[in-house]
Symmetry: C3
Subunit: 142 residues, 3 copies
């Protein structure tokens, strides 16, 4: 049984942005030399998240459009009212969407690779950027 952990870094340039991270994940997996196990990706932030879907820029626009509608700007958020003097803290929408998209995902590792389907890519979702964020990758296996 082996354990391997590493922190990945993601930088964004917009307030909401999707960033593809499969190469960084592959390199952590190669370092670990684990060929059979489970990879847990963990975002230690409350206004960013992790998901797995297609690498397709038009689709990413659509995802951000719909997420923006699920927690619409028209609602009077109590969290934002509390921080009325600090525009930077008016991020209730990002917190709420983190509860839906989630900061954690577990993926199987088989024969030394993450078992991603043909169209699957690992996507980091920034919702309160631009920022530099970290993703904690933890692999347990043999």
């Amino acid at each position: 049984m082996r354990f391997h952990s590493a922190d990945l870094t993601v930088s964004t340039s917009k307030s909401m942005e999707i960033v593809d991270v499969p190469e960084q994940v592959d390199s952590v997996l190669a370092e670990s030399r684990i060929r059979n196990g489970v990879l847990n990706l963990w975002v230690p932030h409350t206004t960013a998240a992790i998901m797995v879907n297609e690498h397709e820029a038009n689709l990413w626009e659509d995802i951000l459009t719909i997420l923006g509608q699920l927690a619409p700007p028209s609602v009077n958020y109590s969290h934002d009212a509390k921080y009325v003097r600090s525009i930077k803290e008016q991020n209730a929408r990002a917190h709420i969407l983190n509860c839906l998209v989630k900061p954690s995902i577990s993926l199987p590792i088989e024969e030394g690779r993450v078992l991603l389907g043909t169209w699957q890519s690992i996507l980091f979702l920034e919702m309160d950027g631009p920022r530099t964020r970290s993703i904690h990758a933890k692999i347990m296996g043999e």
Copy 2:
């Protein structure tokens, strides 16, 4: 420490459909002879997902109704515009809902069984069917 993996197959007959898979999962668990550990279910697709809720056909209708409203047909999806000549590729809504319902879930195994509550059943969610899909089950434990 033991590892056991298996691929389950799910076939659907509608574009959006919920299918119950607990018997297939039980049979993978029995094969594994693991009595204490964690089961990771992984859907290697970008337009299907996995969830755990009640086996109740009326409820399943309600789930599909609300999901359909979260990513409404009235939005002009960029992903779909790109594939305007191929109706089969106009599946942005299914991709977006996968980011919410997720393609992965981890469940505890205690005393040789998946620790499902009284009303819990493992449900596969097809959002771009009808299709034949796979679910990768991976168990780590002892």
Copy 3:
């Protein structure tokens, strides 16, 4: 390799309520003496869920407001129509939101502590209370 399991209990006083559980989780982790591994939190219920976000009462109000809008009371839910004589069973909205917020989350353990970010707290989400519920905590590691 070690395994440790424990059941936490959460009681609520409202129909929808968020409850912070990090102290209970810390005490399970201390008992386990596992310093490196993964913690899986599992809610064996179909109308409650688990999430990780900020401990901030105003934000919790906002989360409940938006969740209430995602599965609005104005829809005629088939599940509720089936149980028209039993107001207690008219909980389709809670079931649907469980499919989105999810009953499971996996968190990394490093150096004997759950790797929560500065603003992260483990939050139990009751959606069909008041009730007494359980959360199953399972830790695998060394």
